[in-house]
């Protein structure tokens, strides 16, 4: 693919405290591509994504979004972000529609919602199959439904680029299928997607390219690796807490 890069990272380094988490990462996502960022816990994949959206300061390297250096990038309505799901909801009740509406703010002027904005919120809820729950409190939702609401919130601004941090973590099977279908729809409409994943799972057929991180470095960038052996079994758990530190395997559950 030779189209313009939507996300471009060159030699990006980042530290948390004084510990280097990213040690010079190159990553390019082109228009219309679906790229999965894989790696074990602590490999730096979440930090890389949070660096892209400006949540983590980078100590070196360049990040560009839609060809603009990130610190000068202002067109945030083009970016839909789904954070790693936290159970910490706000301290005040809020309905599904209210939460999804905050995703539309980027497209409004001074936060005034017109008919088209309310329609966009309804459409986003419809895409994730939560239209009938619009007036329910988000506290009453299951983990999978909550995740669908967060994705609807990201879709409400009709973004060109979707960035998702572990969208499948702790999500029930029914919601996983809805999410995969939603993503397929977005990709068919021309969206560019960067996903942080622990394993490919039900999203595998959608993914054009996989980038695998290990200890803050890119160790694989190419076609998504095929899961083999017992790693291919559904429900296989890829956490190996007892592995010795020196001989740590690449804990993606994928042979590459």
């Amino acid at each position: 693919m030779t189209t313009e890069p939507v996300i471009s990272l060159r030699g990006v380094r980042a530290e948390l405290g004084s510990r280097p988490v990213l040690r010079g990462i190159d990553l390019t996502v082109h228009r219309g591509e679906v790229v999965a960022l894989l790696g074990a816990n602590g490999s730096g994949k979440s930090t890389a994504v949070r660096g892209v959206i400006g949540q983590v300061p980078v100590t070196a390297g360049e990040i560009e979004l839609f060809g603009t250096p990130r610190h000068r990038f202002r067109d945030w309505a083009r970016v839909g972000y789904v954070p790693q799901r936290t159970t910490a909801a706000g301290g005040v009740p809020a309905t599904v529609a209210e939460v999804v509406s905050s995703g539309r703010l980027a497209r409004t002027r001074f936060g005034l919602f017109r008919k088209a904005d309310r329609e966009a919120v309804r459409h986003a809820l419809h895409l994730v199959g939560m239209a009938d729950r619009a007036k329910d409190s988000v506290d009453a939702l299951s983990g999978g439904q909550h995740q669908r609401v967060l994705i609807a919130r990201a879709l409400a601004a009709a973004p060109d680029l979707l960035i998702m941090d572990e969208p499948m973590a702790g999500v029930d099977l029914a919601s996983q299928e809805v999410l995969a279908e939603t993503l397929r729809h977005q990709v068919s409409e021309g969206a560019t997607v960067l996903l942080v994943l622990h394993e490919l799972g039900p999203l595998e057929p959608l993914i054009d390219r996989a980038v695998v991180l290990r200890d803050g470095c890119v160790v694989h960038d190419g076609p998504p690796p095929k899961a083999v052996g017992q790693h291919a079994l559904p429900g296989h758990d890829h956490v190996h807490p007892h592995a010795p530190a020196g001989a740590e395997p690449i804990r993606t559950g994928l042979l590459i």
Partner: protein
């Protein structure tokens, strides 16, 4: 209604209504971002403003507004930059503000800590003409911010990280929330007092939550509770000669208890209605399939 015959009571009731609106209107965002005690901290800092007002013979309300806004800005800066020692820095700010107030008021000609008590716990008879002007102007600012920017403030208070990625000016909105809370403290100081103002920011919101599922409804009901208890407490304080701040806060807590008691059967009925509307496939109880026993296949 002989209560309205006195000019000082008219002023006190007007101030009480404005406090009843503004305190929960700001408080809801503080509760949402789990900073329920921030109002208390700002109240401590505002004491230095009151002391300065006495010392310089300026309006204590305006001085309290000025100093608590500076304090709130400082608190936000501490929250940004001092990640690990933030709470210690805040503690120093709060108690420094309180000690500063006591010190300044004692330095003022003819001043003593006795003068402070009307500011700490509220006092209706002392609400002056110029106080009412200041309270009206400050309350207008608070209402403008909390209602006009409700969508933005909701987004930032719900999920700061996401709000930043939608391009909202998160730092500015955080600062604005802190400044608005500080202004509200100055508005409420005369009626409920600096030490009790935080209760009127937090408790009506907590009470309203017992009944609501949406942010908008919580906002409306919290303000309704705030106005009711502020008027009720002011009137009670007039007829029974009890301190207004304490009366208002106790009434608010009473409202919380009543609504909590009402909410339990209401929630149960709502759950039943929901279950009837969407018959699920899930059986209500765990059933062991026929031919198996609990714990079969388990053994040494």
């Amino acid at each position: 209604m002989d209560i309205l015959d006195y000019a000082f009571m008219q002023r006190a009731l007007l101030a009480a209504v404005l406090v009843g609106i503004t305190a929960p209107a700001v408080g809801i965002y503080l509760v949402q971002r789990r900073q329920a005690l921030m109002g208390d901290g700002i109240g401590h800092v505002a004491m230095t403003g009151v002391g300065l007002g006495f010392l310089l013979s300026w309006s204590p309300v305006w001085m309290a507004a000025l100093v608590s806004v500076l304090g709130a800005v400082l608190m936000e800066l501490v929250r940004w930059y001092a990640k690990t020692r933030g709470d210690i820095a805040l503690a120093m700010l709060f108690y420094g503000g309180m000690a500063g107030g006591v010190m300044l008021i004692n330095l003022a000609p003819g001043g003593s800590t006795g003068n402070l008590s009307s500011f700490l716990f509220g006092s209706l008879s002392t609400v002056s003409e110029s106080d009412v002007t200041a309270i009206c102007l400050l309350a207008a600012f608070v209402i403008l911010v909390t209602v006009g920017l409700r969508k933005q403030l909701f987004a930032v208070s719900q999920d700061e990280e996401f709000a930043r990625v939608t391009g909202l000016p998160v730092r500015f909105l955080n600062l604005l929330t802190a400044v608005t809370a500080a202004v509200t403290v100055s508005v409420a100081m005369r009626v409920v007092g600096l030490l009790l103002v935080s209760a009127l920011m937090v408790v009506p919101v907590a009470a309203a939550q017992q009944l609501t599922r949406s942010f908008a409804a919580t906002f409306a009901i919290a303000v309704a509770i705030g106005v009711s208890v502020a008027i009720g407490g002011t009137a009670t304080s007039y007829y029974q000669d009890v301190p207004p701040g304490a009366t208002i806060v106790l009434l608010t807590i009473g409202a919380f208890i009543v609504l909590t008691a009402l909410a339990t059967p209401l929630a149960r009925r709502r759950a039943r209605a929901l279950a009837a509307a969407q018959p699920g496939d899930d059986p209500a109880e765990c059933a062991i399939p026929a031919g198996r026993t609990a714990g079969d296949g388990v053994g040494a």
